[in-house]
């Protein structure tokens, strides 16, 4: 191919540089058109349209002509809405457990897989399988395993002497914990794979010189592995926090926010208000709060990361 290219180069007239540039620019934009149709359709338009809707009391059913501009009313209502604060509280509890649990567990498993076992690939795959499994199918399996009276989990708890095992998804005290367990279980394998890649990238020399200095395994873990994995942990921290505010599937499928709103979280509340009560204006205001929370977390975490390094 290159020979032919060279001969062509010799015989053909070279088009002017300027023409080439214009041609390249136009092609550049054309190749971006489909992607940016998506950005407009799923990003720009919805974001600003929902901002507009959040200042109205529209209910979807009664046509566009009955749209009423009500200013900040939705937002004022939101800050007095106990249901909103309950979903926010549930969401924060979910995040506060889900984020550290999924990261720390993954770190420990990743270290064990990369240093203490044979058949590494087998372990990687085993822990990764939950991540690709269909969440609603997984949820229906866990619902049976966690059945309050007949389920395997509570049978096990009773066999080791716990007389009143939790009611899991049937009880307001434990339903959210059930949701957290399923969610952590599903995501750990993903974090493990990312951590293993990070661990592979740590220079062996660091450990060797630490060994010469007489540092034990635990000290090596604390002073080499953990700091060296800083950027990986940072990446997982951001994705985990953001994902914890997007939790929806398992709740919509399993508990519908119940019992008694014990598992109602932000996205599920948006779904309820928008698609069950048809309060499009209020649901839009909630959506904007969700968007602002996620954006704020991302920006603050990114800034703190920059200062640290």
């Amino acid at each position: 191919m290159s020979e032919k290219a060279v001969s062509n180069y010799k015989t053909k007239k070279k088009p002017s540089l300027w023409n080439n540039k214009i041609k390249e620019s136009i092609s550049g934009y054309l190749f971006l058109v489909p992607e940016f149709i998506g950005v407009f359709l799923l990003g720009i338009f919805p974001l600003f349209f929902s901002l507009y809707l959040s200042f109205t009391d529209w209910d979807l059913v009664s046509g566009l002509q009955s749209i009423n501009f009500i200013g900040l009313e939705n937002y004022r209502y939101l800050f007095q809405d106990p249901a909103f604060f309950l979903t926010l509280k549930n969401n924060l509890i979910f995040s506060a457990v889900y984020v550290p649990a999924s990261i720390i567990l993954a770190l420990l498993i990743a270290i064990a897989i990369s240093s203490a076992v044979y058949f590494r690939d087998f372990f990687k795959i085993a822990f990764f399988i939950p991540y690709i499994s269909t969440m609603v199918a997984v949820a229906s399996v866990f619902a049976v395993l966690f059945h309050p009276s007949l389920g395997v989990v509570n049978n096990f708890l009773m066999s080791i002497g716990i007389e009143n095992p939790p009611g899991w998804f049937g009880s307001t005290d434990t339903a959210l914990w059930g949701i957290i367990i399923i969610s952590v279980w599903q995501v750990v394998g993903y974090n493990v794979v990312i951590y293993i890649a990070g661990i592979t990238g740590i220079s062996k020399e660091l450990y060797e010189s630490a060994q010469i200095d007489g540092a034990g395994k635990f000290k090596q873990f604390l002073y080499i592995t953990v700091p060296q994995l800083g950027p990986t942990t940072f990446f997982l921290l951001i994705t985990s926090i953001v994902n914890s505010f997007k939790v929806f599937d398992v709740i919509a499928f399993l508990t519908q926010g119940g019992p008694n709103n014990a598992t109602n979280v932000l996205v599920y509340y948006i779904y309820e208000e928008g698609f069950q009560n048809f309060r499009m204006g209020y649901a839009s205001a909630l959506s904007w709060i969700l968007f602002l929370i996620v954006a704020a977390i991302t920006i603050v975490t990114a800034k703190s990361q920059k200062q640290q390094f």
Binding site: E24, A112, V117, V138, F142
Partner: protein
């Protein structure tokens, strides 16, 4: 296997093996329960091998009776395949443009893309639903495909790979008189085949597993995908756990099989790009 077995590593393997077993035991339990008779599902201690096999009975209940599970399956497959193909084409075109072409505002447009990557899709559910209603696509598969045929993270992943391809190939093709589309189609795509495979598998899995979009954009049962179909099925069968487990197995198993065959692609893609749907 020249090196000697180390005792500590053998012990580590055994401990981790038990942990891994515990970890995937819900899925193994699902598999074994799907082949049991109803009254054996809840037995404790767990019987991993069914005492009485009831596989075909459960299978026919899920696949051949009242609920059109095969139709849900077909719908999921159709949507996942179309969405995956479209996403690959759309994302790879953008990736090519961002990695190999030079034009004014390229970086600005890239930052716009990055910014919208941070907008959670959940926060645009309401306006997207209204939009789909307006253009008359509510309760169609087209709406689902439209909502899912784009992926900013996969665009980033492919861009990263294309940026690593030497410009010499492109220059040579240009001198050969190839236009930009030809270069994209005949040179770039073939050269990044492995990452396209990765992106394709990931997108397929994400689309197959998607619950939110079909839940919101579909209402007719005959259009249901496997995930909303599961919901229908579990309300229909109620406490018939063996049947529910058979349905869960049916939903998950094809993904696991595809994953086991192509796992290296999936794991590599995730490791390189930190991609997450």
């Amino acid at each position: 296997m020249m090196e000697k077995l180390k005792t500590s590593k053998v012990i580590g393997t055994i401990i981790m093996g038990m942990l891994a077993f515990l970890f995937i035991s819900p899925l193994l339990w699902m598999l074994s329960s799907s082949a049991k008779v109803e009254q054996d599902v809840m037995t404790y201690p767990i019987e991993w091998i069914p005492r009485e096999w009831n596989f075909f009975n459960n299978f026919s209940k899920v696949w051949l009776e009242d609920i059109p599970f095969d139709l849900f399956y077909w719908n999921s497959l159709k949507i996942a395949v179309i969405t995956t193909l479209l996403t690959i084409i759309i994302s790879s075109m953008a990736a090519y443009s961002f990695s190999k072409l030079h034009f004014p505002l390229r970086n600005v447009l890239f930052i716009v893309l990055l910014a919208f990557f941070l907008v959670p899709t959940e926060s645009t559910l309401v306006p997207r639903f209204i939009l789909i209603n307006w253009i008359g696509l509510y309760d169609t598969h087209t709406a689902l495909v439209m909502m899912m045929a784009f992926s900013i993270p996969l665009t980033f992943l492919m861009r990263q790979f294309m940026a690593g391809i030497s410009d010499e190939y492109i220059e040579a093709a240009k001198m050969d008189g190839a236009g930009y589309f030809r270069i994209y189609w005949k040179i770039m795509l073939p050269m990044v085949k492995p990452i396209i495979a990765t992106a394709g598998i990931l997108k397929f899995i994400w689309t197959w597993n998607d619950y939110q979009n079909p839940l919101i954009f579909l209402t007719s049962e005959q259009l249901y995908t496997i995930t909303v179909g599961m919901q229908l099925l579990s309300s229909e069968f109620g406490t018939s756990y063996a049947t529910t487990m058979m349905a869960a197995v049916s939903a998950i198993l094809p993904l696991i099989v595809v994953f086991l065959i192509l796992q290296r692609h999936v794991i590599d893609g995730i490791t390189v790009g930190g991609v997450k749907g």
